[in-house]
């Protein structure tokens, strides 16, 4: 019962958001992934997200997070795992950050336009990719004759930076394309498994590394990011891609 003579008691009862509120979502793994891979902080101005706007995830790539940022040899897009899709040719526009798969950054954003996540159901416009200051590709709508990247004072993404699709078993001379192909192939198999056995995961990673031509990469069975090894509480293998070190770490994780 509220003590109406105690303003603090009344204020306590007026708390608009209780920690027990079921509407309070549990920790968002995608946000954790975005933070630790540097994919947030893209917008140089205070965000102008529309009410109810969700940052979509095309797939559960939080498996491949951690220190996965690596420098491309051409010194342009340094975080090819993610792309920022802008709703207009304006760095302050609404943005959705999604993972890039072998279809490439522009195609990933086009899919968001098709699904109405961006553009509120408008037809997919011509899209162009520029390199944001964070090293992530930014994809903007454009019109014929418009040079969006120059207008935003951003360099365009070089055609070779976003790799062409690579089929299973194929290899590319572009090491970044090979890393992306490996990542996509291996993550699909890990995502499909409700709890990847560490030994099976090790075999999958080795096989996909070889298929992608990344034969000089190593696999390490490491501690989980919480410092714990594999145990009854953490029996499942997740992946940590340390591209700078050419290393894949099998991380102990709880069941999903």
């Amino acid at each position: 019962m509220i003590d109406l003579t105690d303003p603090l008691d009344r204020l306590r009862a007026a708390n608009p958001v209780l920690l027990t509120d079921p509407a309070l979502a549990p920790p968002d793994p995608l946000l954790l992934h975005r933070i630790t891979t540097g994919a947030v902080g893209l917008r140089p101005h205070p965000p102008r997200r529309r009410r109810g706007r969700l940052v979509p995830a095309l797939a559960a790539t939080s498996l491949l997070g951690g220190a996965a940022a690596y420098a491309l040899l051409r010194g342009e897009v340094t975080q090819p795992q993610n792309v920022a899709c802008y709703e207009s040719a304006d760095l302050r526009a609404d943005t959705a950050v999604v993972s890039v798969y072998e279809e490439g950054a522009v195609a990933a954003c086009a899919e968001l336009w098709r699904r109405g996540v961006i553009g509120a159901g408008r037809e997919v416009p011509p899209l162009v990719a520029c390199v944001l200051g964070s090293g992530v590709a930014g994809v903007f709508p454009t019109t014929p004759g418009q040079d969006v990247c120059s207008g935003l004072d951003l360099p365009p993404v070089a055609p070779t930076t976003v790799p062409p699709p690579i089929g299973p078993g194929a290899t590319s001379s572009d090491p970044n394309a090979r890393v992306l192909a490996f990542r996509d192939a291996v993550s699909a198999q890990f995502v499909d498994s409700p709890c990847m056995d560490p030994a099976d995961g090790n075999a999958i990673v080795r096989r996909e590394l070889d298929r992608a031509g990344l034969t000089d990469w190593t696999i390490r069975v490491g501690r989980g990011v919480s410092g714990e090894g594999f145990s009854a509480q953490r029996p499942c293998a997740s992946l940590l891609l340390l591209a700078e070190d050419k290393e894949v770490v099998l991380v102990a994780s709880p069941r999903r």
């Binding site: 509220i2 109406l4 003579t5 105690d6 303003p7 603090l8 009344r10 204020l11 306590r12 009862a13 007026a14 708390n15 608009p16 958001v17 209780l18 920690l19 509120d21 309070l24 979502a25 549990p26 920790p27 968002d28 946000l31 954790l32 975005r34 933070i35 630790t36 947030v40 902080g41 101005h45 205070p46 965000p47 102008r48 997200r49 529309r50 009410r51 109810g52 706007r53 951690g66 220190a67 490491g222 501690r223 989980g224 990011v225 919480s226 410092g227 340390l242 070190d245």
Partner: protein, 203 residues
């Protein structure tokens, strides 16, 4: 310790802080902004800052207070930006946006309306110290960390804020024609002594 281990340690610590305090930081943000998108942005920005400054994040419960302190500054920046944008929008559209929108989303009852309206009339620093003490249920020591003052100052400021809230609630109840509850004056002196003396201490 090599770089790899340091990176893993930082990731592990950050994941622990993130999982332990995500809901609390989300609740903190949502209690202070009516726009769920804005609240999400505050949470993202707060944890991004925590990741970048992981070495400064204290262990244990103090991490929560540290995160609230960051979230408080992020919110203040967001409000400044929103005010500028709203000013512009108002000039362009001549459709002023006011606190009514906030109230419509947050207030579910007359009692809550009365209390939150009274709270909103207090100065920002009073509002924040009351929320931290009552909604976030922080002890004085952690409130001091969030607002950047001494623990003893927190006690004085909280007492003053409580008194002012009591008076504003009374005013609001009179304004809407409610009956003022009988009992001790909610704005009266507390254990620290008369409010005038408390105010005088800080002058």
């Amino acid at each position: 310790m090599d770089d790899d281990h340091q990176r893993h340690d930082a990731l592990g610590r950050f994941e622990g802080v993130y999982e332990a305090h995500y809901r609390a930081v989300t609740a903190y943000a949502r209690r202070r902004t009516p726009d769920s998108g804005d609240a999400q942005d505050v949470v993202a920005e707060t944890f991004t800052i925590a990741w970048r400054r992981m070495a400064e994040v204290p262990d244990g419960d103090a991490a929560r207070a540290w995160l609230y302190g960051v979230a408080r500054r992020v919110l203040a920046n967001q409000r400044r930006g929103n005010r500028r944008r709203d000013d512009l929008s108002t000039r362009l559209r001549s459709q002023p946006a006011g606190p009514a929108e906030l109230e419509s989303e947050l207030i579910a009852s007359d009692e809550r309306r009365t209390v939150l309206t009274a709270l909103a009339r207090l100065r920002d620093s009073d509002q924040e110290i009351l929320r931290l003490a009552v909604w976030e249920e922080l002890p004085h020591r952690e409130i001091a960390l969030v607002v950047g003052c001494s623990e003893s100052s927190v006690a004085v400021r909280l007492h003053r804020a409580r008194s002012r809230l009591g008076r504003e609630i009374g005013k609001e109840e009179r304004r809407v024609g409610h009956e003022v509850p009988e009992g001790p004056d909610p704005g009266g002196p507390g254990p620290e002594g008369p409010e005038r003396r408390a105010e005088g201490l800080e002058q």
